[in-house]
């Protein structure tokens, strides 16, 4: 039996007054899983937990059968696109993007080649020598994306990765990520506020409500009615908006 | 005797000195005896004593730069040279005696300066220009014609530092002032080799002094038995 890529079992964690409560989720290899949910419902905490960010928790998170916290941070091979990007502000965009390769002691030519490829895919070639402090929001977001993608991770965690992009750039990104996913077959777990984005990208979608992962549905069945009134309400919030257009 | 009479006279003078102040510079090495003498003088005469203690170089600079003060009590007459322009008159107080000191028990059997040339004897001396005790050592050893044969492993900048070197067992012999040698781990070699180099602690009147009366009284007091007893208590030898 193959272990699932991500396996979360009875996972709970308390952060200040917020609690992520009894999460159970299993994501198989190559799957794309989207997380929706109101702001503050715990989506980011869930992603951070999968990445093995926290020290005190109950339950378990395993990557391919191994508890994530038992894997040293530097060996987890998780690509993480942080909601606030987390760029290294003392390095240029090029240095940010090739950081992981530098750590792997790749040679200059290889770094350059990979960075150019990323720049091509994410159309950020023109900002390679700028520092993060001078970038626009969308440029920062794509730099963060490039930094994670360049390492070709087995598991890609993305926290609202396209939120700062305009519709046409977004569209391009969807296609590129889909392509990358097809070629390299990474597992993707991402957070979004865009129902349409979730449906277009993901195989399955989970909905977070108040720190609980309530509904897990196939992408096509996202708007299916259910018993859980909170979920219906949340989906309606978006639906209303959609019919107004 | 006449000396006690003099002391009594001073008690009589006390009323007239109350409210006056004497400003004295004194070498840091003599802090204890001189502090006690100053206290006694104040008790007897009511004269305020402001004594600034520091090492000789600092005092010399203070005297030259500020142009203030009444008296300078220096470690030796040599230390008056840099300030000779402002010294009006000086008077010797006590003997300042250089000695040859070794570790207690004298393990290397050093009996005189000539033994310093022995194989394996490591010596620490004061700097030949900057410290009077260093000058004396140089002079004494040169006079014996053995300076270049002595294994001087280091020169120190102050007398206490020379003594420290011996007391922590970093050398075998030193030439230092007699009052520096304290404690049980060291001893003074009984030799007459350095007798010719005994210095005198001078009290020098400064030309900035306007307080002739108090200075005079204090100079006299320095001659009294009270003062001499105190000096002796701290290991200084009174003149004649």
């Amino acid at each position: 039996m193959i272990n699932p890529m991500v396996e979360i079992k009875d996972y709970s964690i308390q952060l200040g007054t917020f609690q992520l409560n009894n999460i159970n989720l299993s994501i198989s290899e190559k799957e794309i899983f989207a997380v929706l949910g109101r702001t503050g419902s715990g989506k980011t905490v869930l992603l951070e937990s999968v990445a093995g960010f926290y020290r005190k928790f109950s339950g378990a998170v395993s990557l391919q059968g191994k508890p994530v916290v038992d894997i040293p941070l530097e060996k987890r091979q998780i690509g993480f696109v942080y909601q606030d990007f987390g760029l290294f502000h003392h390095m240029s965009v090029y240095e940010n993007i090739t950081y992981g390769l530098k750590i792997q002691r790749k040679d200059k030519a290889y770094k350059k080649e990979m960075a150019d490829k990323m720049a091509e895919i994410l159309s950020i070639g023109h900002i390679m020598n700028q520092y993060p402090g001078t970038l626009s929001g969308g440029e920062r977001q794509r730099t963060a994306l490039a930094r994670a993608l360049i390492l070709n991770p087995k598991l890609l965690l993305m926290d609202e990765p396209f939120s700062s992009l305009d519709p046409s750039t977004k569209e391009m990104m969807y296609q590129q990520i889909k392509k990358i996913h097809k070629i390299f077959g990474c597992t993707i777990l991402f957070v979004t506020h865009d129902f349409n984005e979730a449906q277009r990208m993901a195989d399955r979608i989970g909905i977070m409500v108040n720190g609980e992962l309530r509904g897990i549905r196939n992408s096509a069945d996202l708007f299916e009615d259910c018993q859980d009134q909170e979920i219906n309400q949340f989906l309606l919030g978006g639906y209303e908006r959609r019919i107004i257009v | 005797t006449s000396k006690t009479d003099k002391a009594e006279e001073k008690v009589d003078e006390s009323q007239s000195l109350a409210g006056q102040t004497l400003f004295v510079y004194c070498g840091a090495g003599m802090t204890k005896p001189f502090g006690e003498i100053a206290d006694k003088f104040k008790a007897e005469t009511g004269c305020e004593m402001e004594v600034v203690y520091a090492n000789a170089a600092q005092l010399q600079n203070q005297i030259k730069t500020t142009g203030e003060g009444d008296l300078f009590i220096a470690g030796s007459a040599d230390e008056l040279t840099p300030v000779k322009d402002v010294v009006t008159e000086s008077k010797d107080l006590v003997k300042h005696i250089p000695v040859l000191a070794v570790k207690s028990g004298n393990p290397l059997g050093i009996l005189g300066l000539n033994d310093l040339t022995k194989e394996g004897v490591e010596v620490v001396l004061g700097d030949g220009d900057a410290t009077p005790i260093g000058k004396i050592a140089n002079k004494a050893l040169t006079d014996l014609g053995i300076l270049s044969n002595v294994n001087v492993i280091a020169r120190a900048a102050t007398a206490p530092e020379i003594f420290n070197a011996l007391s922590v067992d970093e050398c075998d012999a030193i030439i230092v002032w007699k009052e520096n040698v304290t404690g049980s781990t060291t001893e003074i070699v009984k030799t007459t080799d350095l007798d010719a180099y005994v210095k005198k602690v001078p009290a020098a009147k400064l030309n900035s002094s306007k307080n002739t009366e108090a200075v005079g009284a204090f100079m006299t007091f320095l001659d009294s038995d009270t003062a001499k007893t105190i000096w002796e208590k701290y290991g200084y030898e009174v003149l004649n």
Partner: protein, 273 residues
């Protein structure tokens, strides 16, 4: 809930070993002082002279630290946040005395305050040479270049964008400084205060040159250490040094206690690296 610690890496073990070496070496140095001083400590505590020196030391070190900070904080602000001609040159002049032996600074002060300017000050009732004031001035001058340099570095690290945002919310430059720049350099400033105060407590080179040491008048703990050492009374000297250590320990404890962080300012507190 279970706690997890990642295993120590080789690098971490190396840093801890270095730390242990530093601690052992420091402890040995401190012990060498304390062991010599301890037998004389009781006697020292009862001596009026020592008690006076303690008070004078605390007084002068505190005042000189306050003066230092009062001069250094505006200067560091001017050097990092305003533009005026020859700023780089000014900065270098201010930092030039960094490597001056304290003795030389003391002599320099002696020359300056014995000049006509100093005489005039004295006429006005501000006596420096051979006076308590001189101790404060010596300590201030000795510390100032360091303190300016450190606070300048701290201010440089503060994100100017936050100051700008504060300004756009209505804060004047002064208010921006007080509410943003200063709190964000808090740690560096506490550290600098500790430096200045400690150095004030331990300084003697410049002080001896400028004011000498008059018992019960300008004798600080450090000059007392010096004088006792000069008279060969190592025990009493180390007793004074031990008192300085005790004061130091108390102040480190207090600043540690004041500087502790209570609220959780970021999620990193929960993080397992």
């Amino acid at each position: 809930m279970k706690e997890r610690f990642s295993v120590f890496s080789f690098f971490e073990i190396f840093t801890i070993i270095i730390t242990i070496i530093v601690i052992i070496f420091t402890s040995v140095l401190i012990l060498a002082i304390v062991l010599k001083g301890l037998p004389y400590l009781g006697q020292a505590f009862y001596s009026e002279e020592v008690r006076f020196a303690v008070k004078l030391s605390l007084y002068t070190a505190s005042i000189s630290t306050i003066i230092c900070m009062a001069l250094a904080i505006p200067t560091a602000y001017a050097l990092t946040r305003t533009s005026f001609p020859f700023k780089k040159v000014c900065q270098m002049i201010i930092e030039l005395p960094l490597s001056m032996p304290y003795l030389v600074l003391g002599l320099s002060l002696l020359i300056v305050f014995s000049s006509d300017f100093g005489k005039a000050l004295k006429e006005l009732g501000f006596k420096v040479v051979f006076d308590k004031n001189g101790i404060i001035i010596a300590q201030t001058v000795v510390n100032l270049p360091y303190v300016i340099r450190f606070i300048r570095t701290a201010f440089q690290e503060v994100d100017e964008r936050l100051e700008f945002i504060s300004g756009s919310l209505g804060a004047t430059k002064w208010e921006r400084f007080i509410t943003i720049t200063l709190p964000l350099s808090k740690n560096a400033i506490i550290t600098t205060i500790i430096l200045a105060w400690s150095r004030g407590l331990g300084e003697f080179g410049a002080t001896l040159m400028l004011v000498g040491a008059t018992r019960m008048k300008t004798e600080t703990l450090t000059t007392s250490v010096y004088l006792n050492l000069a008279t060969g009374d190592t025990g009493a000297s180390m007793a004074s040094a031990t008192i300085i250590l005790i004061i130091s320990l108390i102040s480190l404890f207090l600043t540690n206690w004041i500087g502790r962080k209570n609220p959780q300012e970021s999620r990193m507190k929960d993080v397992n690296q």
